[in-house]
């Protein structure tokens, strides 16, 4: 804007403030003569408003999607495609990832955690749509360990305040059993092991329901129970040919990993079936054991509701003789069954066992005595002798120091003379 000065060349008063890049200049608008120019360089104190700010302290990261977030979103989409999820799941999972990324704790987390976060978002999406996906599958796909996954999962559910429904057992049974390779003949598998998918699915489902009703599923990982149930279902559909096949061999045939607890779940399930068999009139005389009961699973499942009611009873509110209650839950069920009965064993069905989770049926490992009521007030006098027992004598201190010095000398010279 025209100041008070005049151009030395042409004498015009039209002087304009114009900057040539970063240099401020006063220029005559008529002839273009540069009247004065500013300093090209600035001092540190001059630049107080132009100083560089670290990216993390600027608002830049809120305005654009950072490269690691882009990578994470791409991983989410990739994971959804590998699992062949519907496209709506992809959008939901991506939205969860973006929402999670807005929290500073997640933004500054390590790469491993962000990788696991990808899996958590996909898992939450699947759970909310009742799509049965286990954490084990996701951990395998992401090469993550379950501890890291569980920590991140619990954190993100709390952070985003989400309601994640439980894993749907029925759907999990269907998808897991469908992944067994038993439904088509193959050169490695004899024909007698091949099975019809629908029959096996329905029987496995019934066995898993039975396990659920008899407290074998609560608090446990669902997959080993399903594996054990599928094995029993498969065996019972053609017992003559399949009784000799073990659980491990079955899993190998089906091309499925054998989860470690599956064998103990199998034993528990067989024990429940044996108890139920004791209530069926035509099976009592057969004196079944764990192998022979498999042949009768179809009968047992057909009448399972009645049999469970007859074979098991609730806690102390049971209809049975109160004398049996006095035996207490700590004792084995066999004793309760054989207690105070005048009739010979074969003629009378065993008394109902308690329907309890296996952890309550086992005798306690050690009896914890209730600690005596302590009369400590917290303000008692503390005797000197009691404290002195915790202090080293001067002799001990000297010995200790000598020992430490000797150790240091030994470690510092690795080749003693």
């Amino acid at each position: 804007m025209p100041g008070g000065g005049r151009c030395p060349d042409c004498g015009s008063a039209e002087l304009v403030e114009d900057a040539h890049y970063s240099q401020s200049q006063l220029v005559c608008s008529d002839c273009g003569c540069v009247v004065t120019e500013g300093v090209l360089t600035t001092t540190f104190s001059d630049e107080v408003n132009l100083r560089e700010v670290a990216y993390s302290r600027s608002t830049g990261e809120n305005e654009q999607v950072s490269r690691s977030q882009q990578r994470g979103l791409r991983r989410v989409r990739d994971l959804c495609r590998v699992l062949q999820l519907p496209s709506t799941f992809e959008d939901t999972a991506v939205a969860y990832y973006q929402k999670a990324y807005q929290h500073p704790g997640i933004r500054a987390a390590r790469v491993q955690k962000k990788e696991v976060l990808v899996g958590c978002c996909v898992l939450i999406t699947c759970r909310q749509h009742n799509w049965p996906l286990t954490m084990g599958t996701i951990c395998t796909l992401l090469y993550a360990d379950l501890d890291m996954f569980s920590g991140t999962y619990m954190q993100i559910v709390k952070l985003l305040g989400l309601d994640v429904p439980s894993l749907c057992l029925a759907d999990l049974v269907k998808t897991y059993c469908s992944s067994f390779k038993l439904f088509q003949a193959s050169p490695s598998m004899p024909a007698k092991f091949m099975e019809d998918k629908e029959k096996m699915l329905s029987r496995t489902l019934q066995l898993v329901e039975l396990a659920d009703e008899t407290w074998l599923v609560t608090g446990r990982h669902p997959l080993p129970v399903i594996t054990a149930a599928a094995f029993l279902a498969w065996q019972s559909l053609q017992p003559s040919a399949r009784l000799t096949c073990s659980l491990a061999r079955f899993c190998k045939l089906a091309n499925v990993d054998l989860p470690y607890p599956a064998s103990s779940r199998l034993q528990e399930l067989l024990a429940v079936l044996l108890r139920m068999a004791e209530q069926l009139a035509w099976l009592q005389v057969l004196k079944l054991d764990k192998r022979s009961v498999v042949k009768h699973i179809s009968d047992l499942l057909q009448h399972r509701h009645t049999l469970i009611r007859k074979a098991f009873r609730e806690g102390p509110s049971g209809v049975e003789a109160p004398a049996e209650e006095l035996w207490g839950r700590g004792q084995g069920q066999e004793e309760v069954g054989n207690g105070s009965s005048d009739l010979p064993k074969g003629k009378r069905p065993a008394s109902p066992a308690l329907l309890l989770p296996p952890c309550m049926l086992k005798p306690p490992k050690r009896v914890c005595p209730t600690p005596p009521a302590s009369t400590v007030t917290g303000d008692e006098d503390i005797s000197d002798s009691e404290i002195e027992q915790y202090l080293r004598t001067p002799q001990e201190v000297r010995d200790f120091q000598r020992a430490q010095a000797a150790k240091r000398a030994a470690t510092s010279s690795p080749n003693p003379p």
């Binding site: 439980s166 990982h221 201190v397």
Partner: protein, 301 residues
């Protein structure tokens, strides 16, 4: 598009197979499918209740509503007086009301303790661990302490504090060079205080001008047994906003109670662990709140 991750890996710890396609429901309705439908119905019900609850205007109205709905249903027991859940952002606390906020989602127990509906459980949780801190008020030389005390261990590469133990009361203390100390393992508040005083006396006898400032109980852990099995799946359905039950990760249900602010670990065997309390009364109160809920899940059918 094939992503870069290899599809077949040797180890599948309880993985289900890579292409879980949920199959349409067959005609035979199994119990599990019924539970699933129940879960969906529950969610719809809760949404409806949410909308209804947004119309609640006074606390007294809510109390009257709840007392009329009080008959405990089969599967869901009574709920304690709890703050409204995190998922509800529409209901704001009403000004000028009593400190008790109604829980709009579920029926509420009356505020006064002497009610015919809720009776005392008769079970008292046992305290298992108390964590307390105290300030000894002077800088400490940890090397000297580790040298001259018999019951001390000090490994600066692993942890920057001396770990000291005494036999009576059986406790462990972490002593830091700033003079602050953490005392753990006592079974009662008084024992924790006595133990902390003993540690301070040991440090005094080692030649430091230790004082006993700002003794504070930071955490109390209690446990008890309700002696009947609990259907954790049912509990997580009805108390979704407070419970977290992931059998794939942990066998117990984690219940985060809002009032009092206590975390409970509930197991299928009926054992309950309560933690996060600053005073003993919070543990007792939390257990009295949870007991009627657990009783509601006692019957299996």
């Amino acid at each position: 598009m094939t992503p870069g991750i290899p599809i077949f890996s040797p180890m599948m710890p309880y993985g289900t197979g890579l292409t879980p396609q949920p199959i349409q429901n067959t005609n035979s309705l199994s119990i599990l499918e019924e539970q699933q439908r129940q879960q969906q119905q529950q969610q719809q019900q809760q949404q409806q209740q949410q909308q209804q609850a947004a119309a609640v205007t006074t606390v007294t109205a809510a109390v009257q509503q709840s007392t009329s709905q009080q008959a405990p249903q089969g599967a869901s027991g009574q709920t304690p007086q709890l703050f409204h859940s995190q998922t509800l952002t529409t209901t704001a606390p009403l000004p000028g009301t009593t400190p008790l906020y109604p829980s709009p989602m579920t029926p509420m127990t009356p505020i006064t303790p002497a009610t015919p509906a809720s009776e005392s459980s008769g079970i008292v949780p046992q305290l298992q661990n108390i964590v307390s801190t105290v300030n000894l008020g002077c800088k400490l030389d940890l090397k000297t302490i580790a040298l001259r005390a018999r019951n001390a261990e000090y490994n600066p590469k692993r942890f920057a504090a001396v770990i000291m133990r005494i036999r009576e009361p059986r406790t462990t203390a972490l002593i830091f060079s700033s003079g602050k100390m953490v005392c753990t393992g006592a079974k009662s508040e008084e024992q924790s205080r006595l133990a902390a005083r003993k540690y301070a006396r040991v440090v005094q006898k080692l030649g430091f001008p230790a004082k006993f400032l700002d003794f504070k109980i930071q955490n109390m852990v209690g446990s008890c047994d309700v002696k009947f099995p609990i259907r954790l799946e049912g509990l997580v359905l009805t108390h979704q906003q407070f419970s977290s039950y992931e059998p794939e990760l942990f066998p117990g249900l984690i219940y985060r109670m809002i009032k009092p602010r206590i975390v409970l670990l509930i197991f299928v065997s009926g054992k309950v662990v309560l933690t996060g309390a600053k005073v003993r009364a919070e543990i007792y109160e939390a257990f009295e709140n949870i007991y009627p809920i657990l009783k509601g899940f006692r019957k299996t059918t």
